[in-house]
């Protein structure tokens, strides 16, 4: 039995330590994501963890502001720990980068904080990696960030992911077209945001005028599929805004086929997102076995203007902790070689380790001389794939899990291990 943890050695609720394997997987995934973004010409920026409330007030909704950790500094300014990182990037683009020509492609990675524990894992600190394309409007830019998001998920090693693409204007057009009093429309928005279709149906039932848009609203969770869904919806909507949105989606979809990600893209006209914020094409990425999106993004043409540099913009963020949680279960921890020694075998051991590391392998050398049996216990404790045992002189004894021990000269062991021959 393990003794209970002394309370002062634990974490603040909602915050957690990432243990070696988790931390390594998370950092590797972050590097894979940023590397993919850089391959697409997105430049890495690092914005601070702390922003003034004046800046965040400009960019965030009421609910998001409520969830910020706030404090005052010695000068009396109200500051907050960032709850997302698009607003700081917008501040940067309108501020220090105001003379940089648009379009600008930027990417970032870092923790975000919330006073509320998240619904799922009760976390208040999570990690996001994101990319923003500022200063470009239209389907080519929209398709670029969607394709980038797909390639990013792929780069982390996630298999079986899919991207659902929708359009905020499709929804806005429907809301324009339905004949409802303003207060009912407000209630409709609230019900939709809560994904409460029973409540929505009750609201719409009481209205005398039933349009095709009424029916579309009620069918929101099912407006999903391939290109045929555009035709189906096109036959139903009777308003310019929604029609324009469908036409734009068709173009984006064509471009995504050219980007080579047609097989992971679905169209979802009933995607429910923050419609106050998003102004155009929106999308969500789903991985396997997770009840919620791992990536989300879309067009937000209104944000930059609030910082005094009006510009169209689109982008996305990947929920890094979700991705790495998925990968932690898929990817085993990796330590390639545990190198034990006895007597003057230490110098062989140190040289062998240096050679293996030169080939990018992970090798740990024991800090004390051990007998062969003790070395095997140590090998188990450090959980390496191979045990290499170095004696005074002569060949190295090589143990690999599930294989008979072999005796080989040190350079042959190094060559075989580096060559992938375990």
């Amino acid at each position: 039995m393990t003794a209970p943890l002394r309370p002062q050695l634990g974490n603040v609720p909602g915050f957690r330590d990432l243990l070696p394997h988790e931390a390594e997987v998370l950092r590797d995934a972050q590097e894979s994501l940023l590397a993919e973004m850089r391959r697409w010409g997105y430049r890495h920026v690092i914005t601070p963890l702390v922003e003034t409330m004046d800046v965040l007030d400009l960019g965030l909704g009421v609910e998001q502001r409520r969830r910020l950790f706030k404090f005052t500094d010695a000068r009396g300014d109200v500051l907050a720990l960032v709850g997302e990182r698009t607003v700081p990037v917008a501040r940067l683009v309108a501020g220090k980068l105001r003379t940089a020509p648009l379009p600008l492609r930027l990417c970032y990675a870092g923790p975000v904080l919330s006073t509320d524990e998240s619904r799922f894992q009760h976390r208040r600190e999570t990690y996001q990696v994101g990319a923003e394309l500022v200063g470009a409007s239209g389907p080519v830019a929209d398709a670029e960030v969607i394709a980038l998001a797909a390639r990013c998920l792929e780069a982390t090693g996630i298999r079986r992911y899919q991207i659902d693409v929708g359009h905020a204007e499709f929804f806005h057009g429907i809301m324009d077209a339905v004949s409802l009093p303003e207060e009912t429309k407000a209630a409709v928005r609230v019900a939709l945001a809560a994904r409460d279709f029973v409540g929505l149906e009750a609201l719409l039932e009481d209205t005398p005028l039933k349009s095709a848009e009424h029916e579309l609203l009620l069918k929101f969770p099912a407006l999903r599929g391939g290109p045929e869904i555009l035709d189906a919806a096109g036959g139903l909507v009777r308003n310019r805004r929604s029609e324009a949105a469908l036409a734009e989606l068709a173009k984006v979809r064509e471009l995504l086929l050219v980007h080579g990600i047609g097989d992971v893209v679905n169209l979802d006209l009933g995607a429910i997102r923050d419609f106050e914020y998003y102004t155009g094409v929106i999308f969500e990425g789903y991985g396997p076995d997770f009840g919620r999106p791992v990536a989300q993004g879309g067009r937000y043409d209104g944000l930059l203007a609030r910082f005094g540099r009006p510009a169209p913009a689109t982008g996305f963020m990947v929920q890094l902790d979700l991705v790495s949680e998925m990968l932690t279960r898929m990817v085993p921890p990796r330590l390639d070689a545990a190198i034990a020694w006895t007597g003057s075998g230490l110098s062989h051991a140190l040289r062998l380790a240096a050679t293996l590391r030169l080939f990018g392998m992970r090798a740990v050398v024991d800090t004390e001389a051990r007998s062969v049996d003790a070395a095997k216990d140590w090998w188990d404790a450090v959980a390496a794939s191979n045990l290499l045992y170095c004696r005074d002189a002569g060949p190295v004894t090589w143990n690999a899990k599930g294989k008979r021990a072999r005796s080989l000269p040190a350079e042959q062991v190094a060559a075989r291990l580096a060559g992938g021959d375990a």
């Binding site: 994904r195 409540g199 789903y286 009840g291």
Partner: protein, 212 residues
């Protein structure tokens, strides 16, 4: 492709089994399911869980769909889709006070109202939206007892027929809301396994409509 549905024990249990049978999706007896907690029928996997746990199973994706009382959803809002009013298990969430109490409408409420309930979140929000200060005592059972022993001024509890309230010399002072069984769906299941999940939703919707 198998679709999973979480159904609750308790008051909605027989209604849920009945609905599954009427829809032709699965014929299960309460005894059978109660013993195994998990049953598969055709391409439907039925999971038996406590009523308050249904949203957790659905939100985390352990079940694609769930049958749950609206009262539970008031108390634990989640990230799921609420798709269909299944029209059974009707009941009301009420403020009940002792027969002898002088409390009735809001004008008679004391400056600080004390209520006992199994629904602290819903109760707190309801009083707050009416500008009434409230002290909510969270109880796990036998809520009816609390006002009789002077713990609180009244209770917020579910009632279908009002019998339990009458038996405990309580009367309804206000109705907070009406609840029925609802069909909820995991957001990712609707996106990643649309066709099979929607097929089950359609059959349950149809069966629920037939009854109403």
């Amino acid at each position: 492709m198998t679709v999973s549905i979480a159904i609750p024990t308790g008051a909605l249990h027989s209604g849920a089994l009945d609905l599954l049978a009427r829809s032709g999706l699965a014929r299960l007896t309460a005894e059978d399911l109660g013993r195994r907690l998990l049953a598969e029928s055709n391409d439907l996997r039925v999971i038996l869980v406590r009523p308050a746990d249904v949203p957790a199973y659905v939100d985390h994706g352990a079940a694609d769909l769930g049958i749950v009382g609206k009262d539970i959803l008031w108390e634990t809002p989640g990230a799921h889709y609420e798709l269909v009013d299944l029209r059974f298990g009707g009941c009301r969430l009420v403020l009940a006070v002792p027969d002898a109490s002088r409390l009735d409408g809001p004008e008679t409420w004391p400056p600080l109202m004390r209520v006992a309930t199994k629904y602290p979140h819903t109760a707190g929000a309801w009083f707050e939206s009416r500008g009434q200060a409230v002290e909510v005592v969270r109880l796990h059972g036998s809520v009816e007892l609390a006002p009789q022993v002077g713990l609180v001024d009244g209770i917020i509890d579910l009632t279908a027929t009002g019998r339990t309230l009458r038996e405990n010399q309580l009367r309804i002072a206000a109705v907070l809301g009406s609840s029925t069984a609802r069909l909820i769906a995991n957001q990712a299941s609707l996106k990643t396994r649309t066709a099979p999940v929607q097929a089950v939703v359609a059959r349950l919707r149809e069966a629920a409509g037939d009854a109403g």
